[in-house]
Assembly symmetry: C2
Homo-oligomer: 618 residues x 2
């Protein structure tokens, strides 16, 4: 009865997604955070989205036969917008099929980034001193570097200057950052100036290697955040760090170690040296950014939850234990508040929300959901403590989205579930939970107050297979999603009344955040041009299901779009362009943080949001 999902692996990144049969490779890639170009808008006409399916290429479609060559088809090339997932697949996405990596995932719209990095390696061959030209070495160098000012130069640079000049026939490479001389290298090292943009999540860290001269993407690599040994969520990490300086140092060194591993992998893949990495930009939630810098995050977890630093710390990479060019600095995308971090600012940057003429909304759902709403005129943001229900926690048979998790539920006349991997289901993860509750609501098994109906109160039209699954346990209703006989764990997967309540609390938290943003802006759902779902979880949500349970605003599905890893995309932009980094600073300063606890109407809106209301849009 359970429907298996299919594994699609995208190469060369090696990113894997679980998909239902029938979705296009384009959609699957989107979920994997890989942007495939689609100049014809997915009509199967241009062939620009040509990818290579090296395992189980599907039957070619008529469009593919028309557009692609016979040889291409024979070798496994398909058009991502046409080919559909029909089996476990391995898909190679060549550079030719990718959107410029300076664009963000976004239904083909894309945001162009000018390459204007804050750091450059500039080779200069200086005129030699003569009796007629007795300028000192430093003045000689600075004056040969247009745009570089007379800032105080680092002592270690000046110390090596006279020798380096004369050992290299006055040809040296200046490392220039934000108009200042910051480093000096022998000879011509200007061929490569690389940067790495990190998206530092509480769970996963992703790094992208960029050629800062051209903006070219040279690879991506990821690691689990090794701080996870000291807690799954930010609060437990803060508690650990608060205990003593050694703990803080350990968390700092763990995350720095992961960044180093990622950089090592990136450099190996791209056959470049770590010494060519001249700049690092990282975006993470406020706690992750504090921990990376080794700044005590204690007060992020104590009312009124203020950050030590929003912006304006940019140490040398070596100072925080990162391996890169000795002159490389790391900059963090500035945060907005203790619970709205640099990752959110990066997301705003990547989606150009701060330049939008129309009202748009950016939602990243996690244990802490972040919501930003507004336009170029005004931006408001809030953080909502959804709790870990969507991570599968506090749910009787809840689990993370991993092998064995029910990640999709449909109830046409009986229950059909999609399970991650090839094993029997052992629990249910966040997306499956949303689906299940949405379907229970549709059939009236759960009413708008969230109560599981007793047998006698179930709707007349309820199909018998579903009706049989409603049982009573400890004087509350319960729904048998998968009986023990079909499960992997020796027990059935039931949804309890308490599970429904947890979903209600979580969705109410998010929805309240959305409402407070709307109220503050004075707009209603109709005024919202678009809702953008960001982040790992948002990317897997089925929009109609999320809307049905009231997790998302009641608006047409076409106005709700996935923007993938917008934090990572924003970090990349901030790395490639200093004007983009300046924009990030402006976003950080101008976005109004709404503290829900301080909102007078919060309790009222929250109480309202606990109900399930049938969306008008459906």
């Amino acid at each position: 009865m359970s429907e298996r999902t299919l594994k699609v692996v995208f190469q060369p990144e090696g990113r894997t997604v679980q998909e239902q049969p029938g979705v296009t490779i384009f959609e699957a890639a989107q979920r994997a955070g890989i942007a495939i170009s689609s100049p014809c808008g997915g009509q199967g006409k241009c062939g620009k989205c040509k990818v290579h399916v090296s395992k189980n290429p599907p039957e070619p479609t008529p469009s593919e036969i028309e557009v692609l060559s016979e040889e291409d088809i024979r070798k496994g090339w398909r058009m991502a917008c046409q080919a559909r997932v029909a089996a476990d697949m391995v898909v190679d996405v060549p550079l030719s099929a990718r959107t410029s990596e300076q664009k963000i995932l976004s239904d083909g719209v894309g945001v162009a980034v000018s390459v204007d990095p804050s750091v450059a390696r500039r080779f200069v061959r200086l005129s030699k001193p003569t009796v007629e030209d007795l300028r000192c070495d430093l003045d000689r160098l600075i004056e040969a570097l247009p745009g570089v000012g007379r800032h105080p130069a680092p002592l270690n640079v000046v110390r090596r200057l006279p020798g380096l000049l004369r050992q290299n026939d006055f040809g040296v490479t200046a490392v220039v950052s934000n108009g200042a001389l910051v480093g000096l290298e022998p000879g011509d090292a200007s061929a490569r100036c690389l940067g790495v943009a990190f998206d530092i999540g509480t769970t996963t860290i992703v790094g992208v290697l960029l050629d800062l001269a051209t903006g070219a993407d040279l690879g991506v690599a990821a690691r689990t955040n090794p701080q996870i040994a000291h807690g799954d969520d930010v609060v437990s990490r803060i508690q650990f760090a608060s205990m003593c300086a050694e703990n803080l140092a350990e968390l700092q060194s763990r995350v720095a170690g992961a960044l180093n591993e990622i950089m090592t992998e990136l450099c190996a893949k791209a056959s470049v040296a770590a010494g060519d990495i001249c700049r690092i930009v990282a975006a993470g939630n406020t706690t992750m950014e504090h921990l990376l810098l080794g700044i005590d995050p204690t007060y992020l977890a104590q009312a009124p939850y203020v950050a030590a630093v929003r912006s304006g710390v940019s140490p040398r990479a070596a100072e925080i234990g990162l391996m890169a060019n000795e002159f490389a600095r790391i900059a963090l995308v500035p945060n907005i508040a203790g619970f709205v971090g640099g990752d959110t600012v990066a997301g705003i940057l990547a989606t150009d929300l701060h330049k939008s003429g129309a009202i748009r909304m950016l939602i990243d759902i996690g244990t802490n959901g972040e919501i930003v709403a507004g336009s170029r005129d005004r931006l408001v943001a809030c953080s909502c403590a959804a709790g870990p229900a969507f991570e599968g926690m506090r749910i009787s048979r809840g689990m993370r989205a991993m092998e064995g998790a029910i990640e999709r539920v449909l109830m046409p006349r009986d229950v059909e579930v999609g399970v991650i991997g090839r094993s029997r289901p052992t629990g249910i993860c966040g997306t499956g939970l949303i689906d299940a509750v949405a379907e229970l609501l549709r059939w009236g098994i759960v009413d708008e107050t969230g109560r599981i109906q007793e047998q006698g109160d179930l709707p007349q039209n309820l199909p018998e297979p579903l009706r049989r699954r409603v049982i009573e346990c400890e004087s509350a209703g319960e729904f048998v999603l998968v009986p023990a006989s079909e499960c992997g764990g020796g027990h059935g997967i039931h949804l309890t009344q308490k599970d429904i309540r947890e979903v209600q609390l979580a969705k109410a938290a998010v929805f309240t955040g959305i409402q407070v943003c709307k109220k503050t802006l004075g707009v209603s759902d109709e005024d919202i041009e678009e809702v953008m779902l960001a982040g790992a979880f948002g990317n897997y949500i089925r929009r109609e299901m999320a809307r049905r349970i009231g997790l998302l605003p009641d608006m047409p599905i076409s106005k709700i779009r996935f923007v993938g890893n917008s934090a990572g995309a924003g970090a990349k932009m901030a790395l490639a362009s200093r004007s983009r980094m300046r924009e990030a600073e402006e976003i950080s300063l101008k976005t109004e943080y709404l503290e829900l606890a301080a909102n007078m109407e919060f309790q009222e809106i929250f109480a309202d949001s606990l109900f399930f209301a049938t969306p008008k849009s459906e």
Copy 2:
């Protein structure tokens, strides 16, 4: 027959000078680099220059009896402008008798300096974060510090910020430098913000402790430059440093060690902590500045003799091994060229030469003499390799100005010499040499070509005692200044023909520099309003003697004045005032360096200058 000089010790500095009987305490203090105020212009009317003579107070003069109280006189108080040196003395100069230490030694004119230091310790008590005010700690601090901008803050400062704020009820001291937050201390540490200005000579290092809040002078201390173990002059130090990195590091660490000793002494005397020293400014010749920063000076000694750095290096004091406040930075007064250093720029700054309406000239005579000439419209500078003759070297019986050195010579009818200390003469130092040659010229014993006359060619009017001193040795003339029987060293002190030649070469080098400056500016002696003699040696020269041998321009003695340690005074100004430091940068950029080797007329002028010409002014 030899006339002893008298030792005058000035307290509390402990500076000692050797003086002839009859000079006023005021003049002696001037030579010691101590500025005594003289509102009445030395007429003995105001009593403001009242000092305490604790050893051998002279008989009171009529003015003193009129102005001072009987008790004062009995206790040893005298007026510095009236009391004359008659024995070895110890003079205490109270604060009341001092010119504001923001003024430079200068016949009562003085240059006022506004106290506008680049560093300040500012105590702020911040409003605490509330739900209505969730600014991060750093923004909260910066916004409470008017005039401080959002520069990147040092990581170590931000790391301690959250804890320090909360442990101190949000009251902290910000160390602010040039409009940027550079440090953070618990509680209110704003009571003291000190600075030390160093004059780093090749031989002697002098440090002055200043209260940067008030500009008050808190003491002075000096040490011999311990680099002297590796050579007396800059060239031998450069050679030593050039050999290997360890040698350079040793010279750096020696000078840093001396600075630390001086700071330790200054702090002990003033009962303050080294941690209160928040800024250090140093002026020295270009080699000394390079060595202090640990920058390889090799190329300062290789044609075309360019510096590694003119300006724009300002490391943390700790980075170069200096003990001070952990956030203190050191700045160097910028240099003009490889052989015209920050000490010369400091001298220009202190004498306001760069603001002068009239043409003036600043001369610092040493192994390398520096000459600056001009006005606010144009400044030119050159360095002249006078050689070490004035240091007593390359002279058959030459010696430094120390115990036993003949430092003054007069030949009324026979030779009278002044000797430093109480011992018999053992040699002759620079000032004695100048005197001796000047007197030999006056009597015609040496002719204008520099030749010591043979007995037969000596002038008719030459007194017999002098005539007898002219002997012949190895077919050249020689002058017996002090016969062996009156000397301490077992040999006589003779001036040989070669000695005269060395003096000729030295004075020609300086005079050529003066001429090239004048020619470049297109001015003659009459156009020069004033010649200022700076530095240790210049301060002891007898002007009429120096002028007679052609070391100084042919102009009235009244136009030649001593400006004392103008380099130290300039360093103090640059420490006390950042606008003064900016002026120093402008001076460094605008002063034209004249490379004598590149001057087409150099050889010609130099050859002319070798002659001794009787000055018209005499």
